[in-house]
Symmetry: C2
Subunit: 83 residues, 2 copies
Amino acid sequence: MKTRVYVTLKNGVLDPQGKAIHHALEGLGFSGVNDVRAGKLIELDLADNVGDADVEAMCRKLLANMVIENFRIERVADAAPAA
Amino acid sequence: MKTRVYVTLKNGVLDPQGKAIHHALEGLGFSGVNDVRAGKLIELDLADNVGDADVEAMCRKLLANMVIENFRIERVADAAPAA
């Protein structure tokens, strides 16, 4: 079973990567960009017996830094490709 | 207007970061993890006059490396938080 984990910085946490992307977009001439926040998308291919509690534990122990990041778990039907 | 861009590696492209996460999860004792693919989630806060074509151009020129990455653009209603 396919599961996606979205890891994003908590509000108020400085995002130097987002700032750099924002600056680069403006340098390329793109206007109308008010803010950019960079995060992580982790796609897990899991056995069917791996439950939500296990995935949550993976996030808390490894995938997200709970001090500065939030995470969101999304179970994906096999058919929907990420991109 | 809030827009999310999901950047993922194309199939077949080696993902060392995903491999490292996979290895670390197993080291922490998590079983049932068949594969891990790491990608990027970029949240853009855009002015209303920035159209889909502009966002696509941002992706092609900067946010995604078109040789090895795919991207998917998602327009977000203001209410839905990312995580």
